[in-house]
């Protein structure tokens, strides 16, 4: 196995020198398929929680063979079926908690394939901890249901499943106002937190003790994170209390004081620590070193392990995710800027690692760009850490200086970052700087960034930029950033106009006094105090570092992006900056996302945003598109993402001209949906003059490139013959093509053709089977979406109006409608009918049975948007049916010749003896023309019930016309 690992690593190292290709945005900006893993107590199996297709799946994995046995599977769209917690209770039992309930999976290993059986538990509460040395036993916080009283019990899964927990052992008394209980297996102590108003109090209960001991009350903002008990009076705690950096210290419970420093890094804050299981002090500490997570092993035995891991994994960054009880087996994860996460099963005794899983399943063939971390010393002798991600080949010569947000208490790391990888794969080099104010470098470093907007922070960035430029000599340089980074990007460009050739500011701030005056609540002293801690004193000097007040000094082209619902960097910030820059005739572009806050909440937003950023920089710097294996595909996707933003109401303003431009770019690179959309623009006369021939050409091109929607559209256009000459053979061919291309309605198109015998031999049985779902069970029918049934109804309508059935065939077809729609009769006669123009307030919905007709003698319709006309009819039958029996009529609106393609052929479900309306609303711009609107209403047997023509004329000419 070691050989395999070594081979795998060699492959990675050798291929990483290849040219990096543009990575499609959809591969980067998305959720990973893998969520988490846990190893069984004996180390023989792994639980793996993943997303596969539309499901969240909890699998049991045999690590050596990789064989997976699904234990639980939930639809990922069901929010209440998200697994919040899962834990091995013993080697055969797994605890699983979802949002509203929990239960246990009992795994049967007696057969060849392990099989899990799920049992939902009846007793309410939550797991405190499994008991490692006692199989089938666990500690549980049981909610008795009486006045929210909690009992802390030692119990079994079976007792919780049946709800029969009364005989369980009570192992501790609960705390009053206890909000959570946890268990420290090393010290076998119980831990808890109570809340009193806004104050949190921390407690622990050592083994054998009868009463809880309070060890901390949280009063201030000091970082304080207990790791575990060193002895019965001493906690190991990560804190920066009384010292500059977050360190691991001994905290004396009795005196409430900090004692020995157990570990302190000279440069970095600690991010985690573990204690030795045998109670012999610290096992390991974690921190971010040059943006890379490091684990330093303290105990001698652990140092040996670390050395073995380093050898096995060829020095990669790694972390141990989980360990078996005897520590012989582990799950190890490797990660880096160019490794989103790879998981291995590690056999410590034999020093063997087996690949288990990747965080993203389909990224293994993609070559990511690695990052280099380094330090620069400023003039005032402060070490500033920075990260440079530079493509090994295909660099476009552009350095993007990309400061992070915050600015206080945030930092950049050299971990995998989809934004950085997106840009690097397109040729950009990206520079991140952990300037003063960044976290992880101690309190003094963090505090030295406060009140330094546009000052020390940007000086730090510039010191790093100068060194990088000296070493690398980039041809172009732009600044880009989000939130504070957006502000910083603008300030850098102002301070160094000769260096920065473009600026991209995302969700940024530009007017610092506005931070204190953005809302009425922001004017309260308690709010302003918090703002001052970051920004500095609220005085006139803030204007000196607010680009809004000296926007005339911004020279390079600038792109502003923001969310209209941003309440952190208030949207007003971006809008007033845009206003001012436009007023000063600066070269500004902006894109404001509707309904978006301080960042996108759906990946589509990020894909669009970064596609636009790349396009903006290329346009401004006049850069060619990258070439390479995936370049066309990736840019086809980027351009269609940009185009969609202008049509789908994503940005604040729709812009079909720009949309058409980008759809054309995308189509030129082979994107079939873009070809279809261009066709639809010609079809609808949107942006281009209406041209059905060009529309058909684009639809055909799209269909040839595999777009099923284009094939289906063509099939319907040829079938209906309203805008092009009817060609049933062509229609059938395109229905077939749509089906081959897996169009969701393809089989309905084929069925329609078979009913009508158009382009194929008539086959009513085949048609009925598909159209009326005759071969489907009720369960299968329920699985179809509403949209599918609507398309069936549309097909039924079309066949009903356009068939050449003989009497027998018509009878058969109508019988299917009767059965399918549960009609009681179709033998109808007209009992009453009124027609005319409808009152405006009754415009919606189009067809209703609750209407009022304003003028019952008019067939002349005023030519204005919203004008509504039609008929209200009541049908009756000679059949012996119950009152208001369900029935159906068909009707047709034939529109004036110029817009005949929009004519409607429909059916209406109604009740015998109950009136119903069929109305037409002039809602579309193209409908505002003078002409004749003919309404025909018929029974399913083609008996004409009503036939009248309405005429639209300019309002001043409307006069009474005899019915």
């Amino acid at each position: 196995m070691k050989a395999i690992i070594v081979l795998l690593l060699t492959a990675i190292i050798s291929t990483s020198t290849w040219a990096v290709n543009p990575i499609p945005a959809s591969k980067l900006f998305r959720n990973p398929e893998h969520i988490s893993m846990q190893i069984s107590p004996d180390g023989q199996y792994i639980l793996s929680y993943d997303i596969r297709d539309d499901y969240r799946v909890l699998d049991l994995v045999e690590p050596i063979t990789g064989k997976r046995s699904p234990l639980l599977k939930f639809n990922k769209h069901e929010k209440n079926l998200n697994i919040n917690q899962y834990t091995w209770i013993d080697n055969k039992t797994v605890y699983v908690a979802l949002r509203d309930f929990y239960g246990f999976i009992h795994i049967d290993f007696s057969k060849e394939n392990p099989k899990g059986s799920w049992k939902k538990a009846k007793a309410e509460g939550y797991l405190i901890a499994p008991l490692a040395d006692k199989p089938n036993q666990l500690l549980f916080a049981y909610n008795t249901g009486k006045r929210k009283k909690t009992k802390l019990i030692k119990t079994s899964p079976e007792q919780l499943e049946t709800g029969n927990v009364e005989n369980s052992i009570i192992f501790a008394n609960p705390l009053k106002r206890g909000i959570h209980y946890a268990y420290d297996p090393k010290s076998k102590s119980l831990l808890s937190v109570t809340r009193d108003d806004e104050e949190l109090e921390f407690w622990f209960l050592p083994p054998g003790a009868k009463s809880w001991r309070s060890y901390l009350t949280m009063e201030d903002e000091t970082y304080f994170r207990p790791i575990g008990l060193l002895d019965e009076n001493t906690f190991a705690v990560l804190t920066d209390k009384d010292q500059d950096k977050v360190s691991l210290v001994a905290f004396d419970i009795d005196t409430q004081t900090i004692g020995n420093i157990l570990y302190q890094h000279p440069m970095y804050d600690l991010t985690g620590a573990t204690l030795d299981e045998q109670g012999e002090g610290v096992k390991s500490v974690m921190y971010l070193d040059h943006g890379i997570a490091r684990t330093e092993y303290i105990a001698a035995e652990q140092k040996q392990l670390a050395q073995k891991l380093k050898e096995t994994f060829d020095g990669q960054n790694l972390t141990i995710l989980d360990t078996s009880l005897n520590e012989d087996f582990k799950i190890v994860a490797t990660f880096a800027a160019d490794d989103p996460g790879t998981y291995y099963y590690y056999d410590a005794k034999n020093n063997k690692a087996t690949l288990l899983h990747r965080k993203f399943l389909d990224l293994e063939d993609i070559l990511f760009t690695s990052a280099k971390t380094f330090s620069v010393t400023t003039e005032d002798n402060i070490a500033i850490e920075a990260i440079l991600t530079k493509p090994k080949k295909n660099s476009n010569g552009v350095l993007l200086v990309y400061p992070h947000g915050g600015p206080i208490g945030v930092r950049d790391t050299a971990a995998f970052n989809p934004e950085i990888q997106y840009l690097a794969s397109r040729g950009y080099s990206i520079l991140n700087v952990n300037f003063r104010g960044s976290k992880g470098f101690g309190k003094a470093f963090l505090n030295s960034g406060r009140g330094q907007f546009g000052q020390v922070i940007e000086q730090d960035i510039t010191a790093v930029v100068n060194q990088v430029q000296q070493e690398h000599k980039f041809e172009h340089m732009c600044s880009i950033g989000a939130s504070y980074g957006g502000y910083s990007a603008v300030m850098l460009a102002i301070a160094h106009p000769a260096q920065y050739e473009c600026v991209v500011s995302l969700f940024g701030i530009y007017d610092l006094p506005l931070l204190f005056n953005a809302t009425n609540y922001r004017t309260l002293e308690e709010s302003r105090k918090e703002i001052r801690k970051v920004v500095g004193e609220q005085d006139e000097s803030l204007k000196d570092v607010s680009p809004f007040y000296f926007a005339e000094q911004i020279h390079p082209p600038i792109l502003l992006m923001a969310g209209t619902e941003d309440k952190r960097a208030d949207f007003e910030q971006a809008n007033r900056m845009k206003y001012r820059l436009q007023q000063l005739n600066k070269e500004v572009e902006y894109l404001f996302y509707k309904g978006v806050g301080h960042g996108h909440h759906v990946w589509e937003g990020d894909r669009h945003m970064f596609g636009f950023i790349d396009d903006f920089i290329r346009r401004k710097l006049d850069l060619p598109l990258p070439t390479g294996e995936h370049a066309d595909k990736s840019y086809a996707e980027d351009f269609i993402n940009i185009a969609d933003g202008y049509t789908l109401d994503m940005a604040t303003k729709k812009d079909f001209a720009r949309a058409a431009h980008y759809y054309n770019l995308s189509a030129g690179l082979g994107e079939n949906r873009a070809m279809f959309t261009i066709g639809s623009f010609y079809h609808q006369g949107k942006e281009y003059d209406k041209d059905i021939n060009k529309a058909i050409d684009w639809y055909k091109k799209s269909s040839e490139h595999g777009y099923a929607e284009a094939s289906y559209r063509l099939a319907n256009l040829y079938q209906k013959g309203l805008v092009i000459e009817r060609d049933v053979d062509q229609s059938f061919l395109y229905f077939q093509k749509a089906l081959e291309q897996e169009h969701k309605f393809g089989e309905l198109g084929i069925a329609t053709a078979k009913c009508l015998g158009t382009g194929t031999e008539q086959d009513l049985d085949a048609c009925f089977n598909t159209l009326f779902l005759l071969d489907k069970t009720d369960k299968e029918k329920r699985a179809f979406e509403k949209e599918f049934f609507e398309e069936i109804r549309s097909a039924v309508n079309f066949i009903s109006h356009n068939n050449t059935f003989n009497q027998e065939q018509l009878k058969q077809f109508n019988q299917q409608i009767i059965d399918s729609y549960e009609l009681k009769t179709t033998n109808l006669y007209l009992d009453d009918i009124e027609f005319g123009i409808y009152k405006a307030e009754n415009r919606e919905p189009l067809v209703t049975d609750e209407i009022a007709i304003e003028d019952r003698s008019f067939t002349s319709v005023p030519l204005k948007k919203g004008a509504t006309f039609g008929a209200r009819l009541t049908v009756d039958t000679d059949d012996d049916v119950e009152r208001w029996a369900r029935t159906m009529v068909k009707y047709k609106w034939t529109l004036p010749e110029a817009i005949k393609e929009h004519s409607e052929e429909k059916t209406l479900l109604l009740s015998v003896g109950h009136d119903a309306s069929i109305r037409f609303v002039l809602a579309q711009d193209y409908e505002i023309i003078e002409g004749d609107w003919r309404l025909q209403i018929m029974t399913l047997d083609n008996k004409v019930l009503f036939d009248k023509t309405f005429t639209t004329i300019e309002s001043k000419n409307v006069s009474a016309v005899a019915p």
């Binding site: 506005l514 009425n520 309260l524 208030d570 007003e572 845009k578 206003y579």
Partner: protein
């Protein structure tokens, strides 16, 4: 900190009726509305549901009415006597209102002869009968200015636009040449 708890939802039945008069936004861009001691008030109401009324008390008590309070953003330009005003009550419907606008967070001034923009009143509630709601007065001066430039360019050309919303703001002074305008 949850400031929004200060506002409460109550049933209207326990309140006495007010004698405030209904007002609707000026529709036409003609600068002929102001009496000698009056100024224009520009307020916007961003609301997640259509509201019934908003009571503004002060120099003159007025109700903003449903036509100006539809779901979305509503800009309301009205002429009012100069003086101090306060958001007093938001009627969600005939039965429920949001009240509790006691402190000066909800106060604003209307200045004589000018357009006083006092903010965007942001009303977010999950429904007419919901007890969960959030009300905030926000400074969106640039959006207000763009609205006036689009819809009331004549009045804007005649009158100084002044910020009288939360806190202080120099946006209008920087982007507009306010000094040349004033009382007519």
């Amino acid at each position: 900190m949850d400031y929004f708890r200060r506002l409460i939802l109550i049933a209207l039945a326990i309140l006495t009726a007010s004698c405030a008069s209904n007002v609707t936004s000026i529709k036409e861009d003609i600068d002929n509305k102001l009496e000698v001691d009056e100024g224009y008030l520009l307020i916007a109401v961003d609301t997640s549901i259509s509201l019934n009324k908003i009571w503004i008390s002060g120099e003159k008590d007025i109700w903003l009415t449903a036509d100006d309070l539809r779901s979305g953003t509503n800009y309301i330009l009205i002429n009012l006597p100069e003086g101090e005003y306060q958001i007093h009550k938001i009627k969600l419907n005939n039965w429920f209102s949001i009240v509790g606008f006691e402190d000066d967070l909800w106060n604003f001034k209307v200045e004589k002869g000018v357009i006083s923009y006092v903010g965007h009143l942001d009303v977010q509630t999950s429904g007419w009968w919901s007890r969960r709601h959030r009300v905030e007065l926000m400074n969106k001066s640039s959006l207000a200015l763009e609205f006036l430039q689009d819809d009331f360019s004549t009045i804007l050309a005649n009158r100084k636009l002044t910020y009288h919303g939360p806190g202080e703001d120099e946006f209008f002074d920087i982007v507009l040449n306010n000094n040349e305008k004033g009382d007519l």
